[in-house]
């Protein structure tokens, strides 16, 4: 159908174009196949698939598995856990990294390279390089009364801190590049007028960075939501895990058949998919903002 439409408005149909579209449609479907397969499994009752097999014509499709998976495992609770970690982490990361970027891009040109290098290189390290001492550190830090566990270990605070520390590397790099493209006269003039540094940052520079901040916020939300590793190691109580990491415990415990596993996995993916479809442009531009600079 795509070729027919294309031919009306564009150059006359060339066989090469038809071939290309056929190729792209087939490949795109193949790419979506695993997800569609999971969706199909999740929509069929277990009783039907266990007798007829999974590759069979579905008699009955419905959302029972989704509601069961959601209620039996108390998924809402785990989504809540994620929210408690992700919202402060995204906001703090943006705040802190924009402050560093502001300093680096506006004030100190001698230090900026070294500082940026430290931040960016830190973000590129594999997490496993630092996890052993980090795990010990989190066990050592006592925070009676501040976190539920009385330590940084097994607490939402601990997760927020490591997300902020780790992700601020990438964000500081992207934001400082962005801020450097803003004209210098802008802040210079305000300084001459006697504006304080904080006003310069908060009222002049930050509002101009909205596009970059929006892109980074989208990217960070999805990354932090999707984090699996930090929570697997730094959270010991299954109850305290964010949804993505909790999935590992829930399958087997509550998701006892493949259909429920499929439903649970897809439910976990829904928030990221919504964010992606609504803010696709932000997401992609955030991803390439950093990369294009190479």
């Amino acid at each position: 159908m795509s070729h027919a439409l294309a031919s009306k408005q564009r150059t006359p149909v060339r066989p090469a174009r038809i071939l290309l579209h056929t190729f792209l449609v087939v490949t795109a479907l193949a790419w979506l196949a695993p997800l569609l397969w999971a969706l199909l499994a999740a929509m069929r009752p277990y009783s039907e698939t266990s007798t007829k097999g999974y590759v069979s014509w579905p008699d009955k499709l419905g959302f029972d598995n989704f509601t069961n998976a959601f209620q039996q495992s108390d998924m809402l609770h785990y989504f809540g856990n994620t929210l408690i970690v992700a919202v402060p982490a995204v906001l703090l990361t943006l705040l802190l990294s924009s402050m560093v970027a502001f300093y680096v891009s506006r004030f100190d040109f001698r230090l900026n390279l070294a500082l940026l290098l430290v931040f960016t290189a830190g973000n590129l390290l594999p997490q496993q390089v630092i996890i052993t001492p980090l795990y010990r550190l989190y066990l050592l830090v006592d925070l009676p009364g501040i976190t539920m566990s009385g330590k940084l270990y097994d607490s939402a605070l601990g997760l927020v801190l490591i997300h902020v520390a780790f992700q601020s590397g990438f964000c500081a790099f992207v934001l400082s590049n962005y801020m450097r493209s803003l004209p210098h006269e802008l802040t210079e003039a305000a300084l001459v007028d006697g504006a304080s540094v904080w006003r310069l940052y908060w009222q002049i520079v930050l509002p101009l960075c909205k596009p970059a901040m929006a892109a980074l916020a989208t990217l960070l939300s999805i990354w932090i939501y999707n984090d699996f590793f930090w929570a697997i190691v730094l959270i010991s109580t299954g109850e305290n895990m964010p949804i993505t990491s909790a999935l590992n415990n829930l399958s087997g415990q509550y998701f006892t058949d493949p259909n429920l596993v499929a439903a649970g996995a897809l439910l976990t993916a829904i928030p990221t998919l919504i964010v992606y479809f609504v803010l696709q442009r932000q997401f992609v531009s955030g991803l390439t903002l950093g990369a294009n600079k190479g």
């Binding site: 997800l35 304080s196 499929a262 390439t288």
Partner: protein
Amino acid sequence: MSTDTSTENPETAPAPSPGAAPAKSSTGHRRLLTRRDRITLGLMAGVPTILHVALVWLTALASIALAFTTWDGIGFDSIHWVGLQNFRQLFTSNPQFWPAVEHNVIWFVVLILLPTPFGLFLAVQLDKKIRFSRVYQTAFFLPVVVSLAVTGFVWQLVYNPDTGLINSLIGANKPGHYIDWIGDPDLNLWAVLVAASWRHAGYMMILYLAGLKGVDPALREASSLDGANEWQTFKNVVFPTLRPTNTVVLVVTIIEALRAFDLVFVFNKGAQGTELLSILVTNNIIGESSRIGYGSAIAVVLLVISLAVIIPYLIATFRKERRA
């Protein structure tokens, strides 16, 4: 070079690199600062730096230090210096170490040879101003958005020996005919790599699409006016101008190969056939054998490989930026 040094806040900043970028108008900025402004600036740069350095770099250094010790984790006096013993043990008598290194290398080689060129190919096709380009992009990029944990579960539904898509289709889901994609140590790494490639191709496609947007259309036109066909134009004109993107792609792919963890952990926790360095490190923390010094030694191997990639890349990047 900047002239004024009295206004810095030295405690937070790393050593200044000699001969760094010229100060431009920053000295002008700085002359206008009040005392309060300087304190504000110090905090703005200092607090994030302290947090980042403490949690990322000091822990990385601690990994290096701990790699030369044994420690049971109870009290600091039980830390004992053992020199290179952890490394010696790791290199000579750990049956999982060399397979893990090999698997990390295979991971990188597969990603760079299959999904990366495929992502580039998709990007080139989708960059041709064809209809529905966005729809195709969304489909190919979807796996990148979904978490690796979910990806692991979704692919298990494909690979399950009893109920999975593949075995059901080829009739290998009956007793005696099972193909155990996840359990068989000769197969499972490749099964995981299919899932990893599925995701990687979309990521590379997006990076290359952004790179292709930066290619001057006049170049392409000139090339086709010269009578070059599509392939020749790509090979001689487009690909060479994608050099910066290729560098990013190479670095991203190496880092991804070193970081590989989630998929394997969800699939089979890094059982025989899918050992990875990252999994070995983690098993020394949350696994049954908690050997801190030993786990750190594996982390140091990871660190050394990563820094060998990260540092040259960043130096090249920042040098170029300074020239710009």
